[in-house]
């Protein structure tokens, strides 16, 4: 398990409302919630309780069997089993426990039937609904903010919305509380719980309906509670996720609807009404359960069901709230900028590319983590404070283009057919976003797409560049597209180390063949990407002929979309060799007419320092660490040995540092004076760059820090491939390049 994998850990949804009849649970989903009992923290205790509670269960059964004739046989059966197990005595211990299990199973069945028969009496999570309702209807001071109660390991998460003192639902600044109102509601709750049945209170509400039409005061609070049972270690992360991505947004919409159209109250009234109707029809006449009955009629119930089903499956939930469509999701982490550790799981098909970090900065895309459980909380991640590695934070933001600019140089790879996506997002086919979606090519950057849009719709185009960016991020956020560096036949593509071979390969081989029947099978295609030549080659080299170019690019797009392939980018540093440094030094001497050994001194010092450091390390390492844990004699032994070793120290070999002849400039954009001199030496004396190339060099200098890919710079800085190649050739011996994603 890891934060990289989706784990909604949602158990169910409860809708608690508070009227002047006190709190009640109006609806819950899934109906099976009635069968579940709250998990106890301690399994031993659970076993112990099992025995204790058995008798009580049967007492309960008795009372129930009296109330409903239909299940009498079942109950008798259970009793019989119980008796027989008693008769079997102690020696048949294993058997009896089995029987007990059977018993509890039958009682569970029985309960669930009971629940669907008349859900008003059914328990929820092993509690009477009244008790839960009271718990989930907090006093006003706890409303309109995050609500989080945990019983054992079960979390009840919500955002209770309470009416304002003036009866409106419009959000206001939190006002000082009114104890009178609260104690009143608590009093109601107490009276409603226990003796007065749930159905009774429903009756009351319905009775009052005509007398108070559209009365706002009837509903004082509603709370859509998400019941979650996350793994202990992930608890705070999973609840945060659910709250910030779903609950917060959903509840604000519901509050708005209640404020504007009294939506919640109308729905609650309808639910009560339908329940009433359902109870009125004789049981033999109905061939459906209460929940399906409610589902057929009610928007709110449908919405809750849909919400639950989508979230549990980690899909995007498109919810119909008062006939308006809203979408919610807990984002999937499918974009990684660094390779996760070996033991860290991730969603198959995830995409690996350094460009993902630009996306992370927008806050709209969740970036995968390299470790199973990172220390940072979700909020930090959302706000982007923790995305960059701490060690990389030493550079200022102004070093880079802002992420929004960066994004426009990336391309967009749709996850589906354009028309399908347009249909799915329910956009009109003439709307700007639909036009935009149709224009998207994975081989083109957003800027290019934009300029083509401009061409096609000269003037009539109401899209500007920022809306292009917005649309693109929208598509990425709602899992319709992936942002990638534009595909290019001259790019070098490798099989991603995160490729889902082993997990998804079986399915994908067939899929690939279906999409691209005319080109080699997926394994062969991947084989051609993983050549045994010394270095990965440009994609163009595996395309057999010009006619194949398009289909091969499409296939490549497919691979990128399913996480099989990623592009290798080139990153460069400037390297200053000893020769250059000497020359600069000589020059300095000439200039100043006196000896200045600053440069050489500094690196001599450096190497000396590390020599001593090294010695210390070896010396410390053997004696320290877990020495404390060692028994006394080994310590003595060790001391003894140390002493003898010290005596023999003169025999020890010298540890010599190899000369650090080359210096790699980590950040040439902020070069020191000496470094500037070195750079000048390189470009003017050593390589004798032409003025044009010098210009290009200076344009690129700040990117020679191993963080900016040359492939993207080509797009960004308006440099031609030829120019770049020329430059790199002429300064070849002073540049270190690395290829990675």
């Amino acid at each position: 398990m890891s934060y990289n994998l989706p784990n909604p850990s949602l158990v169910g949804l409860l809708l608690a409302v508070s009227t002047h009849n006190g709190p009640q649970i109006v609806y819950h989903y899934p109906p099976e919630l009635g069968n579940q009992k709250l998990l106890l923290l301690n399994p031993d205790e659970e076993a112990a309780n099992d025995d204790d509670f058995d008798d009580e269960d049967y007492v309960e059964d008795d009372s129930k069997s009296m109330s409903s004739e239909t299940s009498a046989t079942n109950d008798v059966g259970a009793k019989f089993l119980d008796k027989s197990s008693d008769l079997a005595g102690v020696d048949a211990d294993a058997g009896s426990t089995k029987l007990k299990k059977l018993n509890s199973a039958t009682t569970e069945d029985f309960k669930s039937r009971k629940e669907t028969d008349s859900s008003t009496k059914g328990q929820i999570l092993g509690f009477e609904p009244e008790i839960l309702a009271e718990m989930l209807s907090p006093p006003r001071e706890m409303c309109n903010c995050r609500f989080d109660i945990m019983l054992e390991s079960m979390v009840f998460l919500g955002l209770p919305i309470h009416a304002q003192p003036d009866g409106s639902w419009r959000p206001q600044k939190a006002r000082s509380f009114r104890t009178a109102a609260r104690s009143e509601s608590v009093g109601h709750g107490v009276s409603a719980g226990g003796s007065v049945g749930h159905r009774g209170s429903v009756d009351d509400t319905i009775d009052e309906e005509p007398s108070e039409p559209k009365s706002q005061s009837a509903l004082s609070m509603f709370n859509l509670v998400f019941v979650m049972n996350p793994p202990k270690i992930e608890r705070s992360y999973r609840t945060d996720e659910m709250f910030y991505y779903v609950i917060l947004k959903l509840m604000f919409i519901l509050r708005y609807e209640q404020h504007k159209r009294n939506y919640m109250w109308e729905q609650v009234k309808l639910i009560s009404h339908l329940k009433e109707e359902f109870a009125a029809t004789p049981p033999e006449d109905r061939d459906y359960s209460l929940s399906s009955y409610l589902l057929s009629g009610l928007l709110l119930c449908k919405m809750m069901n849909h919400c639950f089903a989508s979230l549990v499956a980690s899909r995007v939930a498109h919810l119909n709230i008062n006939n308006k469509l809203h979408s919610f999701q807990i984002p999937l982490k499918m974009e990684f900028h660094s390779l996760p550790e070996v033991s860290t799981p991730y969603v198959p098909g995830s995409y690996l590319s350094s460009t993902a970090s630009f996306l992370g900065e927008t806050g709209l895309v969740a970036i995968g983590e390299t470790v199973r459980y990172s220390g940072s909380s979700l909020i930090d991640q959302v706000l982007g404070t923790d995305i960059a590695d701490e060690q990389e934070d030493d550079l200022d933001e102004d070093e880079y283009l802002t992420s929004s600019d960066e994004l426009l140089h990336l391309g967009l790879l749709l996850w589906d057919d354009p028309e399908t996506i347009i249909k799915e997002i329910k956009a009109k086919s003439s709307s700007p976003i639909a036009t935009f979606i149709r224009m998207i090519r994975p081989t083109e950057s957003l800027l290019k797409v934009y300029s083509r849009l401009e061409e096609n719709y000269e003037g009539r185009n109401d899209l500007n560049i920022s809306s292009v960016r917005e649309f693109a991020l929208h598509l990425v956020h709602w899992r319709k597209a992936r942002m990638i560096p534009p595909l290019n036949t001259r790019g070098i593509y490798i099989i991603s180390p995160m490729a889902p071979i082993g997990s998804r390969f079986k399915r994908d081989i067939a899929k690939f063949n279906l999409h691209f029947p005319t080109i080699p099978s997926l394994p062969l295609f991947l084989k051609s990407l993983s050549t045994r030549s010394k270095k990965p080659r440009q994609f163009a080299t595996i395309i057999p002929s010009k006619d194949h170019k398009d289909i091969y690019l499409l296939a490549l797009a497919w691979l990128v979309r399913y996480g099989y392939a990623t592009q290798l980018h080139t990153y460069i540093w400037l390297k200053v060799s000893r020769k250059i440094k000497m020359k600069v030094e000589e020059e300095l001497e000439m200039e100043l007419g006196k000896v200045l050994k600053r440069g050489s001194k500094s690196y001599q010092n450096n190497s000396e320092a590390s020599v001593t450091e090294n010695k210390i390390q070896t010396a410390v390492d053997n004696s320290s660490k877990q020495a404390g844990a060692a028994s006394a004699e080994t310590i003595e032994d060790e001391i003894d040995k140390l002493q003898r070793r010290l005596e023999n120290a003169q025999n020890a070999p010298d540890i010599v540092m190899e000369d650090d002849s080359d210096t790699i400039l980590v950040d040439p954009g902020r070069a020191s004076n000496m470094e500037r001199r070195w750079i000048n030496q390189i470009i003017h004396k050593e390589c004798e760059l032409s003025p044009e190339l010098t210009a290009v060099f200076y344009k690129l200098l700040k990117y020679m820090n191993g963080r900016n890919s040359l492939e993207l710079l080509l797009l960004k800085e308006n440099i031609t491939r030829a120019e770049l190649r020329k430059l790199l050739l002429s300064i070849e011996s002073h540049v270190i390049s690395v290829r990675h994603w």
């Binding site: 060690q391 180390p497 079986k506 067939a510 991947l526 590390s610 090294n614 053997n622 877990q626 994603w741």
Partner: protein, 626 residues
Amino acid sequence: MKTNDGFVPITAIFYAVFHPIQGTKIVHQVPEDAIGGLTEIEQDKDVLFNFDTVKNYIIPKPHLCNRLVSFKIKEHKVVGFPVNIEGSRYARNSFNFNFGFVFPYSANTMPYEAAIARMGKMFQALEEQSNLLSRLDKEQIFFSGEHENLALGSAIEYTPGHERIQKILMLSIESLIHQVYQDLNNYSECCIPIDSATSVDIKLFPVLPPPVDLHAYQVPVLTVKLHLFVDVACDPTMIRILPYINGVNSVRRISELADADYSLTKQCIQHLMHYQCIILVDIFQFSNIYAPTNRIGEFLRAKGMAEDCQAYVVSANSLADFNSLLLSSLTPQSAATPVHDAPSGLAALHSRDNLYKSNPISNSTSAQTPASSSPYLRSAIGSAGGGRGRLEIKIPSKASLFFLFRLLSQGQTLKEWYIQHQKQLQNIDIRRFINFGVIRGIIYRVHTYPILESTTRSLENHEPAKNDVNRLIAHLERGLRRSKDQSENSGAIKTILIDNGDGTGVKEKRTVSFNYHVGTSRRASDLISESSLRTENVDLDVFESESDESDTGEHFNTGRGIVLSGPKGEKLTESEQLEDLEDLRKLAELLKNFQHFDSICTELQKPRGDVERLLDRMGEYSIINA
């Protein structure tokens, strides 16, 4: 706001009861006045939250009691274990109390939760037994009249054997929660006696994620000197496997070498992983491919990484020189002992490398790097012989280490890389160099997956069966039956063949049976030096090709060596055919799940060369590097 142990300090602790007249109220709290009711708020006191708002959550309905309950109020989280005890002795037929712990809302309260629940349960038991809490009220307000005497009477009881100690040591809840608050926040543990038999003992432990699933082909590398921890109480399997965790052996291999059950070994290593005593790497082979990741720049930027690398990768042979020098001059006897119990100085530090160098079953270094292994031998001999000159250990520069890392790339095996950069690698232990890169995430292992053509085809056409493989297996099965008949007739010939065999060859075979690592090294050495190293007879070469050999099968070795010059798979001897068949079946299963070579080789316990040969027989396959 974190203590040294990383536990979030407790903001406040309170003890609340359900008062028969006043309802739920706080009896004691630390710090004073941390939580207030309406009156305090009206007085503009600085309280954490209004107690009246949450009192229904602090003492909830009986159904919700007796379990861990935590809730959010304002910016705080209250964790408690409300207890409800029913009994006719009580004024309201029940007694309710709760010890509430207040934390900041964003805090990780997990380490506290079990302790809080335990504390609640303990006081529940104490209250049930001796009304410990309820009788603390001076007016005995919690009891219905007739039980008052009972409550008072129990206070004078003495515990047998503890005559001197009065049963009730705990004088007030106030001092108790005060002490819990102080001790937990300062020392992360507390131990407060309540009476002669009970005490509030809490120690906070960090909650670690459950261990991950290991694979047989993963190699654990120790990060602490575990052998120093070994004592009698240690798990026997752990003791067994420890000497073999050397950064070279895979999990499967460790279990074999230690003769321990695989699943137990795996569990042990998972435990070590859980407590962060080991790091997992891949099996080191010269046929591996490594390539830089996006974090390679950190080698230049991150503080200390390059220095760490320099210290770690210094060639083991130069250090071995160093060690052997020390060892020979100090403790000559320990040079021969297994390295794990030679904790002396550098020998312990570099024990893994010694093992790695001297262990004949380790990977192919001895064959692959003749240049580096021979000085070791020489030095060992030299030092044994007596005095020697001063040594010089050259530590490679940071820049050159960086060059070496960046020169790794997809599509180039380590062997090729090594051959190219032999010169720069002279003072570098390649295995350590690679491990360092992998562990620090600046390079990654490129895994190699063999994919059978027939599998692809059947998947594309949605056919269930893999025809080629099935046919091959069926064919072998037939062949097996036939050869069974033959073997019954040809017993005499075989005995003759044994005499023909090369005696040493058979012996060698026996010692290395079931050693796939040996096979690897052999295989690799074959590749690298081709025939130059082994110019002996053909028979030996054939020996190399199959490393799995049961003792009974041994007799047929030489026989097979002769027969095998014919077409493969036709005239294999019986036991080999059986094995062959088994291997092929296994392999087919593994291929179906698209395993990479490391996994396949580990499962089949065969060197990669053998697996490749098996694959050849199964039909066309493509190699994918990912």
